[in-house]
Amino acid sequence: MGKKKILMIDDEPELVDMVKKRLEASGYDFIGSYDGASGMEAAVRDKPDLILLDVRMPRMDGYTFIKEIRVNNDLKKIPIIVLSIVDQLSEVFKLEGVIDYIEKPFDTEELLEKIRVCIEKE
């Protein structure tokens, strides 16, 4: 079994960079995208095992991203963890296919735990 691939889509490059360092240190392959649209391209190209998704982003927001990925037969089964702010809690809960939710600023261990649970489930 090879390394699991995680795609993070967030419009904050520095945050993506931090998470990249963390996840690579934890033994994952990491791909970062800074907006929904290029995130979608990356998803199509790299077929990640898990997506970490921000909600408010330029070009394509998180909601649209989820709606689009759920109609793509190749990608619709990829688990998604939403990284966002507490205001949108129940909105996020309502979205189908969102495996979990983590609030910004997040707890690293919590994030790693959620990723682990998600990937093991698959």
């Binding site: 945050l15 931090m18 360092k21 963390r22 240190a25 129940s90 910004k104 919590e110």
Partner: protein, 521 residues
């Protein structure tokens, strides 16, 4: 006024007639239509005599069109009153009458003068009013301008709050993650002193993040900006989500979370986000102050309300402190808890939210013996929800100048089926199927189908009458074709009523009245 004047014919000697003629010239209520004189030996008398026409025959010959209302006779003694009275129509007034008439005329003139004075004064006042009005208009303009600026400021404040909410959290995330990376020695080893300093920094970043969230919440609630987005949702589902959110944290701490739910589903008409927040705040609090033992979350349905309890086996709160536990910036646990620091706002936010839902919240505790928070939320009637939806629809439609329609669908057993009696179980299943069938006929997520007993309401936002009629057709066709499925017995009659804003009525009460056929709701 000219035509309403009393028409007077003056009869008498020339000099007197002349005098009265002068007096009545500018009288506002009499009009002298002629003078008949009888002497002395002057021109006019000669004219009378010369023509051989007597005073009376002259009077008698006054044509109908020149009819007088009164004949003013100046010389009482000389007039044969008896003969005069035979002349049809005119009433006769003698010298006394004439005097009265004169008096009246003078009074009238005086009144007119006073009227004119009053009019002048009024004109002055009107001018003053006009000036005041101009001043008021100016003030109003100024106020409008100020109002506009206030709104602008308010918008700026909102933007600012939103910026704080979203933008501050991202740099916080980056900072926190950076510190975490170093703490976990991913870029390289650090010593214990460095570690301890970074740990303090990290804890405070967490605190800052919580503070931002809470400050935002409370400022939104206090400015009255927080409007509940109420929907009929399952509160047990909300509680479950919150429990699963807290479970990993609790198990890490060695604290057990037990959830007890009265029923699998308990529907309430609430703002799901906000109630999630109440549970989150209470659970977060419980976990924070509980080092060992358990946290219980109970949701149970009462007669009129639903009770939610979050209790823990933690350090508890002293009697003195519990009184102020819902006050802002009260951190009663501050003295005893060395760990995670709060913001002092979580419980006041919870209280505000519960009270916005017309519920209540209370806390009870014994020091070192755990704390128990209990809040109740009122149950709802579908009728209230429908009214709320209609009110909301009207509000949005009047705002956007659009129409808004509501359809009522009722089902009734007819013929033989009606005599068979009502099977409650069957009815409930049928009603559920019907609601499903109606929901399938909605145009978009903006529309809603709601059930109130055996009646169903379809709320169509931004929908004019003719479009609503199309929806009705679709509904009827579907139901008659058997959309309801196997649960609904044959022989059911469907009736629909339609009410459209603003076509049929402008208030929710009136719309309801149309839908329910005039019955008071």
């Amino acid at each position: 006024m000219g035509d309403n004047k009393i028409r007077v014919l003056i009869v008498g000697e020339a000099a007197g007639a002349e005098k009265f003629l002068g007096e009545f010239k500018d009288c506002p209520f009499t009009k002298v239509i002629g003078v008949i004189t009888k002497g002395p030996e002057d021109g006019s008398a000669k004219r009378l005599r010369g023509s051989g026409v007597s005073l009376f025959s002259k009077l008698e010959s006054v044509p109908e069109t020149a009819r007088t209302d009164s004949v003013l006779v100046l010389d009482d003694e000389d007039i044969d009153l008896k003969r005069l009275s035979q002349i049809p129509k005119p009433a006769i007034i003698g010298k006394t009458g004439a005097g009265l008439l004169l008096q009246m005329k003078r009074e009238c003139n005086k009144a007119q003068e006073r009227l004119k004075e009053a009019k002048d004064e009024l004109e002055i006042q009107a001018w003053g009013l006009k000036k005041t009005n101009e001043g008021v208009k100016l003030l109003y303009k100024e106020l409008e301008e100020k109002n506009r600026r206030l709104k602008e400021l308010d918008r700026l404040k909102s933007d600012f709050l939103s910026a704080v909410s979203h933008e501050l959290r991202t740099p916080l995330s980056v900072t926190k993650e950076g510190i975490s990376l170093i703490l976990d020695e991913i870029p390289g080893k650090i010593n214990d002193k460095q570690k301890s300093i970074l740990l303090t920094a990290k804890n405070n970043i967490d605190r800052l993040a919580r503070m931002i969230n809470n400050l935002l919440d409370i400022s939104k609630i206090e400015s009255g900006k927080t409007q509940l987005k109420k929907e009929v949702v399952d509160i047990v589902g909300i509680a479950r989500q919150v429990v699963s959110f807290f479970e990993p944290k609790a198990s890490k701490k060695g604290v057990e979370i037990n959830a007890f739910f009265d029923k699998k589903r308990i529907e309430l008409y609430i703002d799901a986000d906000k109630i999630t927040q109440v549970f989150t705040n209470l659970m977060g609090n419980a976990l924070k102050f509980t080092e060992k033992g358990k946290i219980d979350l109970i949701v149970s349905e009462g007669l009129k309300e639903v009770e939610c309890v979050v209790s823990d086996t933690g350090i508890g709160i002293s009697e003195e402190d519990i009184a102020k536990i819902f006050d802002k910036f009260q951190q009663v646990g501050k003295n005893y808890s060395p760990g995670e620091k709060g913001t002092g706002l979580g419980l006041s936010i919870a209280k505000e939210i519960v009270e916005m839902h017309k519920g209540s919240i209370e806390a009870e505790s014994r020091q070192n013996n755990g704390t128990r928070f209990r809040f109740v939320l009122p149950k709802f009637s579908w009728n209230d929800v429908i009214k709320d939806y209609i009110n909301l629809g009207i509000m949005n439609s009047s705002h956007n100048d659009k129409a808004f329609s509501v359809i009522k669908v009722s089902a009734q057993r007819s013929g033989d089926a009606g005599k068979r009696g009502i099977d409650k179980k069957e009815d409930a299943a049928c009603a559920a199927e019907m609601l499903k069938a109606l929901s399938a006929k909605l145009r978009s997520s903006k529309d809603k189908a709601v059930r109130d007993g055996n009646e169903f309401f379809v709320i169509l936002n931004d929908c004019a009458r003719q479009d609503a009629l199309k929806v009705i057709d679709r509904i009827k066709q579907g139901l008659e074709a058997g959309d309801c499925g196997v649960y609904c017995p044959k022989g059911i009659e469907y009736r629909t009523e339609l009410a459209t804003y603003p076509h049929d009525a402008k208030t929710s009460g009136e719309l309801m009245k149309i839908l329910t056929g005039g019955k008071e709701q």
